[in-house]
Amino acid sequence: AQVDRSLKGDQNCTVCHDESWRTPVLSIYQTKHGVKADERTPGCQSCHGGSAEHQNDPGNKSPDVVFGAKSKNLSSGEVRNAACLTCHESRILPRTNWSGSQHETRGVACSDCHDIHTPNPRVLNKLTQPEVCFACHKTQRAQIRRFSRHPIAEGKVTCSNCHNPHGSTGPTLLVKNSVNETCYTCHAEKRGPFLWEHAPVVDDCTNCHTPHGSNLSPLLKMRPPMLCQSCHSGDHGKNLYSGANLPSGNATTVNGRLPLASQSPPAQGNSRSCLNCHSLVHGSNHPAGAKFQR
């Protein structure tokens, strides 16, 4: 049935759920969902249902749709989502890709992340949004604290810069069609196309990088030379580099500094390792840059 979305209709609820209620229910009128002059704006019963039983017996019967996460009468995710999708599936800020998305199929409900009544929802603030996502994504919560990281804890980059939690055409809910397209929104200099392309780079940035944080800068899965030697076994890529080749290692003499014979080639095993020379690993546009040195 058509609900009365006017303030008069809301009074069915606000007569009890007024300014003295334990949570500031009325603050929804500060939000977009409270602008009554917008003819699309819902009323209380648009989302919570007509809730006739609750009105008749508020002490024992709950509203038709209950969003409170800790409520014993919490409605199912499907029911809660249906309340939002009434408007947001196709008509207003459509969440076209929600249906069948990773979050939808794992039972996540809109209200698990969105706090509709507050004028300062955490999920819409770059600084506080990660707190919402980390309620489930514990691994990423730890990763953003690592030595090498995106400025997520500082609120300069936030989860939704890369991910669309409402569903997307990309992998892992990325905002673009692919990992690389997503990364290029901030790192366009890596896009090329370059004269000399590096196959794993154009394939997928996450072949080498782990975007949420790493102990190895810059956001690397492994430190060179180990990372490079995962794929390169020719020429000096074949060589064994180990702690023996570092200053004071077994392959050095004279205060641990003088390389012993040719077994301590520091350029490949020390400092930036392979990247001391092959620094343009994302691609080179120099006609002599096929080895990513120019």
Partner: protein, 856 residues
């Protein structure tokens, strides 16, 4: 506290002004937060919002915000409009990324794209080692003056003249090293407008401009032959524009959108030039990232076929172009491009196309079904050409076996690279099927199957360029999920994937088109022809060693069946790989994934949550390269909410990541039977007792097999507490404590042969009988790479009045870092790359301040 209806329904405006201070300079502490410098800083934040009252007849809304106004991380936004009709939004944002404040170089001109050595620079050499080769041990009085064994086998201390030369080098060069801060800053402006002429149409438009400027460290090799390199301050000066516009059409069951996205990257730096530290008469030039453009059009349609069935189809078409002028022979120093260029620019074009279709249905109340298909194509249509070049700062030498063939110059050197660019294309076809069944109330069982086929190729390539031209991956997955209203949620999921593809160990030939041409010198077939005839790869036979050099077509390999030599490719690098090397991004793989989650609301106030994650990647057919990758994580959260006024959270997360890889430091087989003198034949350690046996089997010596086991072990602990409404509701306290203990260990198995420094040719004396001429030195593990960080961040807010409050904040952060990468960049430690003397960025910094917050 807001207790009236008016206060709850009236937008609150907030202005915060204050001052703070930082105890110490630290780039790492201030990496992203703007607090890199010791001293005071301003605190400035505001959030002003308003518009028509909710119960008025108007939909005007506006909001202005500003954060971190006193820091180089400031952000300003302005948004206003009539809700449901139109909206403007503007934003300004700064983001500082500090990289190093301990980096030192002797070069002048940091901050430009041409860095030069000071006039007093003396090429650093250790004269008693070599009069010609650069050697940065000369910067250190201890390492630089190490005694050496001369050709007569005598330990010889440096002469007074040599010592004086070293002293002169140090006196001239070491003071030239000066600090250059490495940091970049992004400054971004965003503008947006959305317009809804009616309820069926939305037209959002967005535009952004970002300028990124500063300096980053970048490795730069001066000479390929001697491998002299520096870490230079690469000049960053980028401008990137992004634009998007969409036309959204909406009906109750239908949603259609057509959109455009454009991204235009412009690099204001075309190249970096630097002088060679070994020979300042030479300079080298490196190309900077080229400017590029990306235009993409997308169409999306969503239709609700029935109340329980929905179809969404999305397609996109994009063009990524790049046509920056190549650096020509005149700017590519020292004859690297002596034979000219096939084109003045790349004329690069990558066409991307995607199609996604997803059908979701709920045929019964208990059953959800979904099917999705994805097509994603990266079609690189960049022209393919042959490029002739010498390696870094190298001049032509020798005569190429392809000189004068196939239109190549007759003067081609044997060290000239004859390379063809590879324009990588990739096409993905993917299918995802999933069903979910409610096995009981609030209990679901999910099962799914995914198939992904990836085809990789290079348009215009003379031969297949992809290590695995096609890979197929299948995934079977299942998940169980249960929730009990109000107190228990559990989830357990498992997925198994298997990826297979046919690996082509000769795909590297795509880079070297002359592999399809019969070289001069007596062969009757090309490299490719011979490999096809014999079934070998460029690595050659793994075993089976003729005593004499190969002849005829077999001579495409180096003597004794060693790898195809550089003369045939004009390549100083041997670009073929070990037989059995599989690049992990396409290698056959079995993957197991487990995910679990358990949430328990023990009481109304106390809850526990545990999560676990396990990934295991087994590259089952990879003999060399990455063989295994394992990751597992466990988290435990405890949350206590005594009331709305007191909330405390404690969590612990443990991550363990492991990569196992293998390689082989094979050598060139040789018939040499001694080292130095005929009597010097003993090998100590390793797999062979004599030099003769070791040399004959250098290509298959099992002791040259190595493996590495990289392991990250990271503990993260966090504690957050918030206490409100103290002192009659006037005081609010909060504290956050975070601790991360991160360790990266790399265990290495294997070893290397090292000649006895005294095993020298005559006139040096032979070694005493029984003395090893060659030693096998076992590998040792890398030192632990450690980053331990603790952060303590308490704050207090005290209400001075209804509209003003005082906020005091404090932050202490300590980083204890140890990284072996810094060991080799100190004076006296490296031999052929310029030390930067950078230090591990450990720090302990306090930041504190107070502010007044006005609300109205």
């Amino acid at each position: 506290a807001q207790t009236t209806a008016a206060s709850q329904t009236t937008p609150e405006k907030k202005v915060e002004i204050g001052v703070g201070g930082v105890s110490d300079n630290s780039f790492k502490f201030g990496e992203y937060n703007g607090l890199r410098n010791q001293g005071p800083f301003g605190v400035g934040n505001f959030d002003l919002r308003g518009g028509a009252a909710y119960d008025s007849g108007s939909t005007w809304r506006w909001r202005f915000t500003g954060t971190n106004l006193g820091l180089e991380t400031r952000n300003l936004t302005a948004a206003f409009g009539k809700q449901g009709k139109f909206r403007f939004i503007f934003a300004y944002d700064e983001l500082l990324a500090n990289r190093s404040d301990t980096y030192r170089i002797p070069y002048l001109g940091a901050g430009s794209n041409n860095i030069t050595l000071p006039a007093n620079w003396i090429a650093p050499k250790v004269p008693q080692v070599s009069a010609n080769n650069v050697n940065f041990r000369s910067f250190d009085p201890i390492a630089g003056t190490g005694s050496v064994i001369n050709s007569a086998g005598v330990l010889t201390p440096p002469t007074a003249v040599q010592l004086a030369t070293l002293a002169n080098i140090r006196a001239a060069d070491v003071p030239d090293f000066r600090n250059v801060n490495l940091a970049t800053k992004r400054t971004r402006i965003d503008g947006g407008f959305s317009y809804s002429p009616d309820q069926q149409w939305d037209i959002p438009i967005g535009f952004s401009h970002e300028h990124k400027a500063g300096r980053k460290a970048l490795g730069a090799v001066s000479s390929q032959v001697s491998e002299n390199a520096i870490i230079m301050p690469d000049l960053i000066d980028y401008d990137t524009e992004q634009a998007n516009v969409s036309f959204n059409y909406k009906r109750k069951k239908l949603f259609l959108t057509g959109s455009y996205y454009g991204s235009f990257f412009n690099n204001n730096v075309k190249s970096m030039t630097w002088q060679d530290v070994a020979d300042p008469t030479k300079s080298a030039t490196m190309a900077s990232a080229p400017s590029n453009r990306f235009n993409q059009f997308s169409l999306t349609g969503g239709y609700k076929i029935s109340s329980n069935t929905k179809l969404v189809v999305t397609g996109s078409y994009g063009r990524n172009t790049q046509d920056d002028a190549f650096l020509g022979p005149s700017t590519a120093a020292n004859g690297q491009l002596a034979f000219g260029l096939p084109a003045g620019s790349l004329n690069g074009l990558v066409v991307t196309g995607t199609l996604n279709a997803k059908l979701t249905a709920k045929p019964t109340k208990k059953l959800n079904l979904s099917a999705a298909y994805k097509f994603d194509n990266r079609d690189n249509q960049t022209p393919v050409n042959i490029y002739l070049f010498q390696d870094a700062n190298e001049s032509k030498s020798g005569v190429s076996p392809f000189a004068g063939l196939n239109g190549l110059p007759v003067t081609l050197g044997s060290n000239t690279n004859i390379y063809e660019n590879r324009a990588y294309s990739k096409q993905i076809n993917q299918l995802n099927l999933q069903s979910e069944f409610a096995v009981a109330k609030r209990q679901w069982l999910q099962a799914g199957y995914d198939w992904q086929k990836i085809d990789r190729s290079c348009s215009g390539s003379w031969i297949n360029c992809a290590d695995a031209p096609a890979t197929n991956e299948h995934t079977l997955r299942a998940e169980w999920r249960k929730s009990t209203v109000g107190n228990l949620t559990a989830r357990l999921g498992y997925a198994f994937s298997w990826r297979r593809g046919k690996y082509d160990e000769n795909a590297f030939l795509a880079l070297v088109p002359m592999a399809n041409v019969v070289p001069a010198g007596g062969a009757t077939t090309s490299v490719l022809g011979y490999l096809n005839q014999t079934g070998l790869t460029g690595f050659g036979p793994v075993a089976g060693l003729p005593a004499t050099p190969l002849t005829g077509n077999a001579a495409i390999f180096s003597p004794n069946n060693n790898i195809v030599p550089q003369a045939l490719y004009g390549s100083r690098n041997n670009i073929n790989e070990l037989v059995g090397m599989r690049r992990y991004m396409v290698a056959d793989r079995n993957r197991h994934k487990v995910r679990s989650n358990l949430e328990w609301q023990a009481t109304e106030k106390f809850s526990l949550q545990g999560t676990g994650e396990f990934n295991d990647d087994d590259y089952l057919n990879s003999i060399y390269g990455l063989k295994k990758g394992t990751f597992w994580e466990a988290s435990l959260d405890a949350s206590y909410a005594a009331s709305a006024n007191l909330v405390a959270d404690l969590f612990y997360t443990y991550d363990n990541q492991r990569f196992l890889s293998a390689g082989d430091a094979y050598g060139s087989n040789s018939t040499a039977v001694f080292q130095g003198q005929a009597a010097d034949t003993i090998v100590s350690g390793g797999c062979f007792a004599t030099v003769a046996a070791k040399n004959a089997n250098a290509k298959i010596d099992p002791c040259l097999n190595w493996s590495k086991n990289n392991r990250d072990k990271i503990d993260t602990v966090g504690f957050i507490i918030r206490r409100k409404n103290l002192i009659s509701g006037k005081l609010e306290l909060a504290d956050e404590v975070m601790f991360t203990r991160a360790r990266t260990d790399t265990a290495v198995n294997g070893g290397s042969y090292i000649n006895n420094p005294l095993a020298l040719a005559a006139p040096a004396p032979p070694l005493p009988p029984g003395t090893p001429a060659v030693f096998f030195i076992p590998a040792s593990d890398y030192p632990t790479l450690r980053n331990d960080e603790i952060t303590v961040r308490p704050s207090a807010t005290y209400a001075l009045s209804k509209s003003a409050s005082l906020r005091a904040f404090y932050m202490f952060q300590r980083l204890m870092a140890a990284d072996w990468a810094y060991l080799g960049i100190q004076f006296g430690t490296g031999t052929n790359y310029l030390p930067t003397n950078e230090k591990s960025p450990s720090y302990g910094v306090h930041a504190a301040g107070f502010s007044v917050i006005f609300t109205f």
